[in-house]
Amino acid sequence: MRIVDLATADQDFIAEVEARSHQNLRTCYQCGNCTAGCPYTFVYDHSVSQVMRLIQLGQREVVLQCKSIWLCASCQSCTTRCPNRIDVAKVMDVCRHMAREQGYATEREVKLFTDAFLRSVERHGRAFELGLMADYVLHSGRVFTDVDLAPKALARRKLAFRPHAIVGRDQIERIFQRFRKGGAHV
């Protein structure tokens, strides 16, 4: 197992997570209620309460490289039941932002789906399911993703063949452009 050197806790990391999430992480006393309620624990490599503890210990690399932060669905169970009123889901969100900014993506498919979704929104102004699925399949190489659903979905006219073009499409494009100009990556 990894030995944690307490003295080398990355204080900047702790401070950044606290500042970006607006949460006081010292109030976490490790009761485990977030882990207890989290429906995703079964796919996590570190439970939510462990992620919280690792942040308290300033373990930047462990946190940003863990799979859990990508597999959190922001279902708000942790935030709703935290006895110390910590917005845990927001902390998970912020860790995911930081991981992405620093080039980590330990759940590649999740990131690719996110990217494909946002590319679709940027291009059309609204999410265009068929297009984003094609985009996702192209980037992930998972050509059989949900092909079993296609007949059902198509038979029930659940998928549009053409994007719904909106008039203000260029406004959405400019939101993304300005966002990138600010140094961010999407």
Partner: protein
């Protein structure tokens, strides 16, 4: 005047950041100071002796000690100067520890500030007058409020000490929470077996007058002389006749209301004796559910009562009693666990409180001591205990630890195994708090000998599946989520201040903390005293406590009461308001503003209205002195002249003249 000034080092507490020698040298030059010195520990025996010697040697008639807070040692030094033959009000104290050395690091500036504080003390002392306390008679009777184990202990100790006791209990019987418990930790002895005899003693003690179904209506007066009005609730039964035979309970047709003694696990008749060992063992009618009281017909109990003691027209009765001291032992209530919606909010009958579980365990409980779950009466094989329900949780405004839940949960896990040998208990906990004698060994036994599976983590939710309840929690030691299908879930609900504590506190002038627990006078050295003289605390009304601690406090409060009532007379504090009749115009503003009712209007010999202070009632708060438009009232020992002299010492008049120009 010949004033002596003593600058205390307090070890390094003061001398570390204050040049005490320099302060003494500066003080020596103040007007009327005949002697000034520094001293290592002024409060120590040699320190006090040095003050006495200096008084004699230098013919001093006033003393200033610059040391710690007067809350700590003013009474000490007043006794010292009195021993040296000086009136105790020719003493002033400058606080150069809490106000100087403990709050500033700069030695130079600390020293300047200490000198200024000493100068103020000297200037005030120069204007002090000798004050002589009055003496008044003490009423040799004590009121104990609350008949739980703490109140019972206080009442018995006071009564055994020879004092008359009036014990007031809100419920129908004394016994409190302890009477509902099955066994007690860490000895597993029977709760009612150890409490029962004490309850009987209370009922039979010639020195104890017991009022149950009664509450405190009002309190006035002061230490040694309280007047208390007690409201005895109508119980619709003449208790002087009732023999407690219980016939009425058997025949009462209205028996659907939840039984409060059994925590709502079963129902109780409208006319009821709460439990077999009740003291007093008398029946009372609940007017909210009684058919006669609600609909005006029935009266079956009156018909069958062999001694004809039913009285449907009985009214509340007010009883007034004079007492010299009051012990508050109003206990605690349970946290309302419905504030946790994730535990079902009562939708799942097999989620119960720890106190309900005590009733299921108890041989006198609704199941005769057999653990049967409420939904279907089945014996549970898997029992989950959840700790910290309403403790250590800011989100429900209960950040404090209730202290005893860890222990009673361990006890309940042990008893579960005793009752049902093929059962398995799971205990969800955050930390195990077991610091008492034999306590930690006890929790270890629950795990090691009785096989209770302790799981470190909170429970996030409970939901039904089939006829079981799925408890989903965390095991933070294993770092993961855990689930267990339980037959019964017991919530270790925390303690909170007793219902009505804040209102009672207002009547007694005892301050509650932000959660409603009464605040003691000093957290270490005056744990059972309050800031109102003559009012003492015992048990969980001061903060969550287990039985040994509550009994200990009951005895401690009794010791304080016995010491107080051992005196025939008490001295009143002479630091009270005094009216200058020549200036008083009898406007009565002071009468209206006095929070203690200590000022009355009297007629002088010419028939003019004049204010008069009742010295024993006046608490010396000074509100009247600032209200009086004529400046006719002065607070002794804090007169306008004395306070202005202190202000002038700090800001010499010449500076103020400069400001004015």
């Amino acid at each position: 005047m010949r004033i002596g000034v003593f600058i205390c080092h307090c070890g390094s507490n003061i001398a570390g950041t204050v040049d005490v020698v320099a302060v003494a040298q500066a003080a020596a030059k103040f007007p009327e100071v005949a002697y000034a010195t520094d001293t290592m520990y002024a409060c120590s025996e040699p320190g006090q002796e040095a003050i006495v010697q200096a008084v004699k040697e230098h013919q001093l008639d006033g003393v200033v000690v610059a040391s710690c807070t007067p809350r700590m040692h003013e009474p000490t030094f007043r006794r010292t100067v009195e021993r040296a033959g000086i009136n105790r009000y020719f003493f002033e104290m400058a606080n150069i520890r809490e106000h100087v050395s403990w709050i500033g690091k700069n030695a130079e500036r600390n020293t300047v500030k200490a000198i200024e504080l000493v100068r103020m003390a000297v200037e005030k002392l120069r204007r002090n007058r000798p004050l002589i306390p009055k003496r008044f008679d003490v009423v040799k009777r004590v009121l104990v409020i609350g008949g739980g184990v703490a109140g019972i202990q206080a009442a018995l100790d006071c009564a055994d000490g020879g004092q008359e006791v009036v014990l007031v209990e809100r419920e129908q019987s004394i016994g409190g929470k302890m009477a509902k418990l099955d066994k007690t930790f860490p000895t597993i002895d029977c709760s009612s077996c150890v409490l029962g005899p004490k309850m009987v003693d209370v009922g039979q003690h010639p020195k104890i007058t017991l009022h149950t179904l009664a509450e405190i209506e009002s309190v006035s007066g002061y230490v040694g002389n309280f007047q208390v009005t007690i409201r005895k609730k109508a119980r619709f039964v003449d208790w002087s006749k009732c023999t407690g035979c219980g016939l009425c309970m058997e025949k009462c047709p209205s028996r659907k209301a939840p039984d409060p003694f059994n925590e709502g696990l079963c129902t109780a008749p409208s006319i009821n004796i709460p439990f077999p060992q009740a003291i007093p063992k008398k029946a009372a009618i609940n007017p909210d559910t009684c058919i006669m009281k609600q609909k005006g017909k029935c009266g079956l109990c009156a018909k069958i009562c062999p001694v004809k003691c039913i009285d449907f027209d009985q009214q509340d009765e007010l009883v007034t009693v004079d007492v010299g001291a009051i012990v508050v032992a109003t206990g605690y209530d349970l946290f309302d666990w419905h504030k946790y919606p994730q535990y079902g909010q009562g939708r799942y009958p097999d989620v119960i409180t720890s106190l309900q579980y005590e009733r299921l365990l108890s041989a006198s409980g609704p199941t005769g001591g057999h653990i049967k779950r409420p939904s279907d009466g089945k014996e549970p094989k898997t029992v989950v205990f959840i700790q910290c329900v309403g403790s250590r949780d800011r989100s429900v405004d209960r950040p404090y630890c209730s202290g005893f839940c860890c222990m009673y949960t361990a006890k309940q896990a042990i008893l579960t195994k005793d009752h049902i040998p093929d059962s398995q208990s799971y205990v969800f906990y955050m930390d195990i708090r077991s610091p008492g004698k034999g306590y930690d060994e006890f929790t270890r036994r629950a795990m090691e000998e009785y096989g209770a599976q302790y799981v470190r983590g909170r429970v996030s939710m409970i939901y039904p599946k089939g006829d079981q309840l799925v408890v989903r929690g965390a095991d933070t030691l294993a770092g993961t989520q855990v689930e267990v299908a339980a037959d019964l879930v017991v919530l270790a609900v925390g303690a909170e201040a007793a219902r009505g504590a804040v209102t009672l506190g207002e009547k007694l002038r005892v301050v509650p903390d932000q959660y409603g627990f009464f605040v003691e006078s000093h957290p270490k050295l005056k744990p059972v005293e309050t800031n109102t003289a003559g009012v003492f605390l015992a048990g969980a009304c001061q903060g969550p406590k287990d039985i040994p601690a509550s009994v200990g406090q009951g005895s401690a409060a009794a010791a304080k009461v016995l010491a107080l009532l051992s005196k025939d007379q008490l001295e009143s504090d002479p630091q009270v308001s005094r009216v200058t009749p020549a200036r008083c115009v009898g406007c009565g503003k002071c009468v209206q503003t006095c929070p203690f009712g200590a000022i009355k209007l009297v007629e002088d010999r010419f028939g003019n209205p004049k204010a008069e202070v009742v010295e024993t009632v006046c608490q010396g708060c000074g509100i009247c002195t600032v209200t009086c438009p004529q400046g006719a009232i002065q607070l002794e020992h804090f007169t306008d002249n004395q306070i202005l002299a202190e202000v002038n010492a700090l800001c010499p008049p010449r500076i103020r003249v400069n400001y004015a120009s």
